[in-house]
């Protein structure tokens, strides 16, 4: 039942979660993502939604929404939230706990202006927050789609990744992608051969495929049998530094084992072009246009996962580049990731084009490519 439709980004995300088999949405209204809530409110209350056990809760705030989401995931529900800006800030409290306990929450983030309330419109300044927010070490998966079709594709994929690998998983969009309307192919993932990863309860599970202490760090989980029933008790408050060390190292090891499977990127343009443009999300889309406009002078590296960052692929792409341009609607959040991975790998000078909380047009990037003095 593949169907070309003309939809707004937020509607596409709402449909993606539904197509991924999610049955729970816990949210709090915030521009530019509120239409995701509206869609779920309507769908969950419909006859079909009720029959399918869909749940929608408009919480008291983003703290409440994110902890409800966490609770729903503990109960084995495929569930998600959607937020932006200051809401993303508040939700870090819950996301941090999800990181600690390996709870596969899914959140669709549509970046808006920052810092603080700022504009409701657009930015790329929630990279640090989404990838590394909280008081942990950033063991979360962050997809950065660059067009409406990818909102749908990665909106579905986020759930599979979350439940397969058991890390909090984010789709990092922005206000432009959330509010723009365009053509999108809406399909049933089964018909594309995409199997949906099943969920498992953390609490009140009767039959587990693998022991829960192979997922949740061992110091945090205490399992006992009584009369043939297994009871799981989880702790989030540890007594000893050594226990906390162990929790962190177990999370790290689990991450290191699978990160390379999760990493994704896209390259575009003539692989021999001497200028390498690095951009993500909607700026990546503008950069693609710029690559076309600049006629073979430049090529694009677009990280699709900002976390884990496709480091190996970026290093390979940097080979032969005489200049690297990093363009982002923030100050140095992307270029910091790029520099970290390219340290010692390339001598090419880097031009950092930072336009915090404002769009970057294809024409701007074209000028960067064509008007900078020759290296």
């Amino acid at each position: 039942m593949s169907e070309k439709r003309f939809l707004m980004g937020n509607e596409i995300l709402a449909l993606a979660a539904r197509a991924a088999g999610a049955t729970g949405m816990y949210g709090y209204p915030i521009t530019p993502g509120s239409e995701i809530l509206l869609w779920w409110a309507k769908e969950a209350g419909s006859e079909k939604g009720k029959k399918d056990g869909m749940v929608f809760v408009q919480a008291e705030d983003e703290i409440g929404a994110s902890f409800m989401l966490l609770g729903a995931v503990l109960s084995g529900q495929k569930a998600f939230t959607a937020t932006a800006g200051p809401g993303n800030v508040l939700m870090q409290d819950a996301f941090s706990m999800c990181e600690a306990m390996r709870l596969p929450v899914v959140a669709y983030i549509n970046q808006r202006g920052g810092p603080s309330t700022s504009t409701v419109i657009y930015s790329q300044s929630e990279v640090n927050l989404t990838a590394f927010g909280g008081n942990g070490n950033g063991y979360r998966i962050v997809y950065a789609p660059s067009n409406l079709q990818e909102l749908y594709d990665y909106g579905i994929k986020a759930f599979n990744t979350a439940w397969k690998y058991r890390f909090p998983t984010f789709l990092l969009g922005d206000g432009y992608q959330a509010k723009m309307m365009g053509e999108v192919d809406i399909y049933d993932p089964h018909e594309r051969g995409v199997a949906l990863v099943p969920t498992e309860k953390y609490l009140l599970e009767e039959k587990r495929d693998r022991p829960i202490d192979q997922v949740v760090p061992t110091p945090e989980v205490h399992i006992r049998n009584q009369d043939g029933v297994e009871y799981s008790c989880y702790r989030n408050c540890l007594n000893l530094e050594e226990e906390t060390l162990q929790v962190n190292m177990e999370i790290k090891h689990a991450w290191d084992k699978v990160a390379h499977e999760i990493e994704e990127h896209e390259t575009y343009g003539d692989p021999h072009a001497e200028i390498l443009v690095v951009a993500f999300g909607i700026v990546g889309a503008a950069a693609k246009q710029a690559i076309d406009q600049a006629g073979g002078k430049a090529r694009l590296f677009r990280p699709i996962t900002l976390r884990p960052f496709p480091a190996k692929a970026l290093r390979a792409a940097s080979k032969g580049a005489k200049r690297i341009i990093v363009a982002e609607s923030a100050i140095g959040q992307l270029s910091r990731l790029v520099k970290e991975e390219l340290y010692g790998v390339t001598d090419a000078p880097m031009v950092e084009y930072h336009r915090p909380s404002i769009g970057i047009s294809a024409e701007e990037i074209t000028r960067l490519i064509t008007e900078l003095p020759e290296v």
Partner: protein, 242 residues
């Protein structure tokens, strides 16, 4: 109610024997509250359906008190977590176990809104009128004039009455306040409240007045503990169903 036998008074069946002796201080009220809860669980035969959430603060020490699926959550976030558990798994009987700080200060927004939405969860608030785990700071329940480490000159005149507030917000909720010194009454409340949420009748809320001998400075003065609990606290925080 007939008087229970000595064996019945000892331990509920759902208690996790391996985790005893428990981690609470001598004279602490938590074990009394948990015992009443455990007996009610046994009587209703719901051990396998329970999801038990405990807050950060002294309540976190209950994380492996029972053979009951338990999640130790985060400061003040137990109510929304247990709301999520129930919403995600309607078959679960979802209980939030929280201190007065977690319920009435850092978690107040979530608590009140769960009551307003009439969520099918049972919230137990253990009220000892102080932040105990963190060393005795003022709580929203600290009574006027009481000296704590953050009210060295005595607390001000304002304090929160949880059950009154919940009743005001939700006319159909199950609401009561008990006290640790009346174990049988507490057990009856626990059973009623658990049956209420088991039948999905909406929000259930029980506050329990409970001593903190350590922070009250009465660890070796049981008479004084009782004096504060039974006379000072219970006088202001009225007992019974609301």
């Amino acid at each position: 109610m007939s008087h229970p036998s000595a064996a019945q008074l000892a331990f509920p069946k759902c208690v996790r024997v391996e985790s005893k002796p428990h981690l609470f201080c001598p004279g602490c009220g938590h074990p009394e509250v948990l015992k009443a809860f455990g007996f009610a669980v046994d009587e209703l035969g719901i051990q396998k359906r329970l999801a038990f959430g405990v807050d950060i603060g002294c309540s976190l020490l209950a994380f492996d008190f029972f053979n009951i699926d338990t999640i130790e959550t985060h400061h003040g976030r137990t109510v929304p977590v247990m709301v999520g558990v129930k919403r995600g798994n309607p078959h679960a009987i979802s209980v939030a176990y929280v201190g007065d700080g977690g319920a009435y200060a850092i978690g107040m927004g979530s608590l009140l809104n769960a009551a307003i939405r009439n969520e099918n969860v049972f919230v137990i608030v253990v009220n000892n009128a102080v932040y105990a785990m963190t060393g005795g700071q003022e709580a929203p329940t600290t009574l006027p004039g009481t000296k704590t480490i953050t009210t060295p000159y005595g607390a001000d005149n304002h304090y929160v009455k949880g059950p009154d507030l919940i009743r005001h917000l939700n006319p159909t909720a199950w609401v009561a306040r008990g006290i640790t010194t009346r174990q049988l009454e507490l057990r009856a409340y626990m059973k009623e409240a658990l049956a209420f949420v088991k039948e999905n009748r909406g929000f259930a809320f029980l506050e329990v007045l409970s001593p903190c001998t350590l922070n009250w400075g009465t660890i070796d003065k049981p008479n004084e503990t009782f004096e504060i609990l039974e006379h000072k606290m219970a006088k202001v925080y009225t007992l019974g169903r609301f």
